[in-house]
């Protein structure tokens, strides 16, 4: 088992390494000279040269990559040209803010998704199941900004005027100090993510409930509650961990649009800004960060899958 986990770990590290190369190479293709972009109208050849020197733009590409990578590994994410400061400072508060959004959404949507999905699976074929399936199918189709805008129209501007539609913390204050501002962004993410969890949970549970071992448990006369919790749910835990991981990983990327929509001061909004400003190192850092979250979350899901599966956990009898 340890070997399998280590193997997965190694693969994850390799994937991240390749991602880092990809991201680095991609940003090399950026048009325009970052030094010139920083200096803007004050660009004289001398100052450009000096800045290029300072930014190590004149050393070979591979060396820049290793400089950058060793920086990233030691926690130095580089220099943001548009804010003229370190990427660390730029992202420090934003990572926290995004995490708040991410964790709040995950903590709300996961249990709801699991419970509703299971409930729907138990009642498969009945009206309530059809309603749940229909709803989740419809909502799952909607792009996040459509849900977000709809929520704004519904709760903020036009129908009910209850909640703020933009995040408006004075700079420097943590986002969670104004919880009402978190409601709509979190709700949007919850609505985006929950249908997927519901659908996957429902499908998995229907399959598990139709499996031989659950049928056997029922034929043993085991009460339905125990059948569900002892026989059905543990079998679903592997796939469900995968789904949750996938959704968490999705959230890491999905926050981009939602943060932009609600003016939420997280890394997603920072990414859009950086793309607009062609702020190379910020784009690099955020992309790598999101990819990192993605890979780590998936790794965790795999580990959960390995640990909860007795077949993988124990030796096979010879």
């Amino acid at each position: 088992m340890i070997r399998m986990i280590l193997r997965r770990l190694l693969i994850s590290v390799l994937v991240l390494l390749v991602v880092s190369i990809l991201v680095f190479v991609a940003t090399l293709l950026l048009p325009g000279d970052p030094a010139r972009a920083i200096l803007g109208t004050q660009a004289t050849p001398e100052r450009i040269a000096a800045l290029q020197e300072h930014m190590h733009l004149n050393v070979p590409v591979w060396q820049r990559y290793f400089d950058w990578l060793s920086g990233v590994l030691t926690g130095d994410l580089g220099f943001s040209t548009s804010t003229q400061g370190s990427v660390n400072t730029l992202l420090a508060d934003r990572i926290g803010a995004s995490l708040v959004l991410l964790i709040a959404s995950a903590v709300i949507s996961t249990p709801i998704g699991l419970v509703v999905g299971t409930w729907s699976a138990i009642r498969a074929g009945r009206t309530s199941d059809h309603v749940v399936s229909g709803f989740s199918l419809v909502i799952a189709a909607l792009p996040e900004f459509v849900i977000g805008v709809a929520l704004v129209v519904l709760f903020s501007t036009s129908v009910f005027k209850l909640l703020p539609s933009v995040t408006l913390s004075p700079p420097g204050t943590p986002v969670w100090e104004r919880p009402t501002q978190l409601v709509l962004p979190v709700l949007t993410l919850v609505l985006v993510v929950t249908p997927y969890i519901v659908r996957m949970m429902r499908a998995t549970m229907i399959e598990v409930l139709a499996s031989g071992s659950v049928e056997m448990a029922r034929l043993k006369g085991i009460p339905e509650r125990i059948v569900l919790f002892r026989h059905a749910l543990p079998q679903a835990s592997g796939p469900v961990a995968q789904v949750i991981a996938l959704q968490l990983a999705w959230l890491a990327g999905g926050v981009v649009v939602v943060e932009f929509l609600f003016r939420y001061p997280g890394i997603g909004a920072a990414l859009i800004d950086a793309v607009n400003n062609r702020d190379v190192q910020v784009v690099q850092a955020i992309t790598l960060l999101i990819a990192g979250v993605y890979v780590v979350v998936n790794l965790l899901a795999d580990v959960v899958g390995i640990v909860t599966n007795p077949r993988l956990r124990t030796e096979v009898a010879k």
Binding site: G212, S213, G221, E315
Partner: protein, 523 residues
């Protein structure tokens, strides 16, 4: 007093297609009733109905299922409220499933799974002791270490014993066994049957034994009920039904069962190396660390039929595929008429490919579901011959006729054909290039026994008509006299015994062959 009394049971699908049409049977304590039928006859539905369980998509329409616990008044399982019905299950009526690998919970230790059935119904004594006891009863170790194992740490036979232990833990008055030995080799099957019979007798349990295998029935059942398309067409004492069947279906069924005694063995004198078409020497195949074939020598003579006998895991499919060039990593030599064949079909010439053909085990998997039968049969011609379109079409029609397949099926997709018809089409595809050697890999094991008989008959006729050689690969020794001239017995990658059919069946030399013959149930 009757332990289980099923009366006029009607079951249909939710959209009202009848599945069971008035099934009635009863079993006395200590009696074993075999419910026999081919696939789709409704026997499993009838068995599960005894526990008041209907699979998704099915519903009970009418009828009653009266079960009596030892000494208690009979109660109608179907009419009981859910809670009381549940109280009966596992305690008064228990169930042993077809495939323990699918039915045991893989995330629970086996001890726990057995204990569970005792706990949920409130076992009066010590659960721990009873678990140990039942494990011993089914012939498994009962120590704590063993109880802490997970199902995947057991072999198939052991898993099925755990299933039996669960079923007999409460000493139920009725046990329903749904093809409990399918997929097990004959030796294990014999042990399981013995255990079941012993426990039923000891505990005075009424057993409903669902099976398609008439030979097994002869071995275990007191009485037999034969099901055909949702009805019991004939029932009675085992001996009577098996040997003096009344109903035409039963008679046909009995006739189709290949007996190991069979007709007459077409035995000729053993004259090795005479006119060998296909010869394999020192064939070895390994996957990772496992040697599947460990140096096999085999020869097939012109016009001869050789039965390659082996249980699952013996390497018989690997061997037959190696001969056809489907196992690229096999070593050793395969020669056709003295000319060496490449291990890879891709490197064999068209002529070589035409001369050695292969029929797959499952006709459900060997035909592309997106091609019509005619298209599938045409493929070898298109790939391996220079015939033009018209010639090909003519040849396809010809060969379809040879396998007695109605031309109207030619333009259908495999989905529109029955299993037997599909297998005929698959055989047609193999014959379309008039091969010198036809390798048939378990071609009947996916088919019902009545269909099996017709396919075997067809193969026999074709061999005579076309004069080709057949390598008939099977696990079922009972087929030997029906199809083969010679037998080669494969065990763990080695041929342990070869000889004429009569010689091997009548005077087996190898211990393993003897064991196989002993454990094979006979009618």
């Amino acid at each position: 007093m009757t332990a289980l009394d099923v009366t006029d049971l009607h079951v249909s699908t939710v959209d009202d297609t009848p599945v069971l049409r008035g099934v009635s049977y009863s079993i006395e304590p200590g009696e074993i009733l075999a419910l026999v039928g081919e696939s789709g006859s409704g026997k499993t539905t009838a068995g599960l109905a005894a526990l008041g369980h209907f699979r998704t998509g099915l519903k009970a329409v009418s009828g009653s299922v009266l079960a009596s616990s030892c000494g208690g008044a009979p109660s109608d399982v179907l009419a009981l409220p859910e809670k009381q019905r549940r109280a009966l299950r596992g305690r008064v009526i228990s169930y042993i499933p077809q495939d323990p690998a699918l039915s045991l919970n893989h995330s629970l230790r086996i001890g726990k799974q057995i204990a569970e059935v005792l706990e949920v119904h409130g076992y009066p004594g010590s659960v721990e002791d009873r678990v140990r006891e039942t494990l011993t009863e089914v012939g498994l170790p009962s120590d704590t270490e063993y109880q802490r194992r997970y199902p995947h740490q057991l072999s198939g036979g052991q898993q099925q014993r755990v299933g039996i232990a669960m079923a007999f833990a409460w000493k139920p008055s009725v046990v329903v066994l749904d093809e409990p030995t399918t997929g097990l080799d004959v030796t294990t099957q014999a042990l399981i049957l013995e255990t079941v019979a012993k426990l039923a007798a000891e505990q005075d349990t009424a057993a409903l034994y669902i099976t398609h295998d008439l030979a097994v029935v002869a071995q275990i059942a007191h009485r037999v009920a034969v099901m055909y398309s949702g009805e019991i067409v004939e029932s009675g004492a085992a001996r009577q039904v098996l040997h003096e069947p009344q109903h035409s279906y039963t008679r046909a069924l009995m006739a189709a069962v290949p007996g190991i005694e069979g007709p007459v063995g077409r035995s000729e004198a053993e004259e090795p190396d005479e006119d060998v078409v296909l010869r394999a020497e020192r064939i070895e195949v390994s996957y990772a660390d496992t040697k599947v074939l460990r140096g096999v020598d085999l020869a097939v003579r012109r016009g001869e039929s050789v039965l390659l006998l082996g249980e699952s895991g013996s390497g018989k499919t690997t061997l037959s595929r190696s001969l056809c060039g489907l196992i690229e990593k096999c070593t050793g030599t395969v020669t056709l008429d003295g000319n060496p064949l490449s291990a890879s079909a891709r490197k064999r010439s068209c002529e070589q490919l035409r001369d050695v053909q292969y029929v797959f085990q499952s006709p459900f998997s060997s035909l592309n579901p997106r091609r019509t039968i005619a298209e599938s049969v045409e493929v070898p011609l298109r790939q391996l011959t220079d015939l033009d379109k018209d010639q090909r079409r003519k040849r396809v029609a010809e060969v379809l006729e040879q396998v007695r397949l109605d031309p109207e099926y030619a333009d259908r997709l495999p989905g529109g054909l029955s299993g037997g018809q599909r297998q005929r089409a698959a055989i047609a595809r193999a014959l379309v290039t008039t091969p010198k050697v036809l390798v048939c890999d378990e071609v009947t094991s996916a088919l019902d026994v009545s269909v099996q008989a017709t396919i075997l008959e067809l193969l026999g006729e074709l061999r005579t008509e076309l004069g080709m050689s057949i390598l008939f690969v099977t696990h079922n020794i009972a087929l030997a006299r029906h199809v083969a001239d010679r037998i080669a017995v494969l065990r763990e990658g080695l041929i342990v015994e070869q000889g004429t059919v009569d010689r091997v069946l009548d005077a087996p030399e190898h211990e393993y062959t003897r064991e196989l013959l002993a454990n094979t149930p006979k009618l």
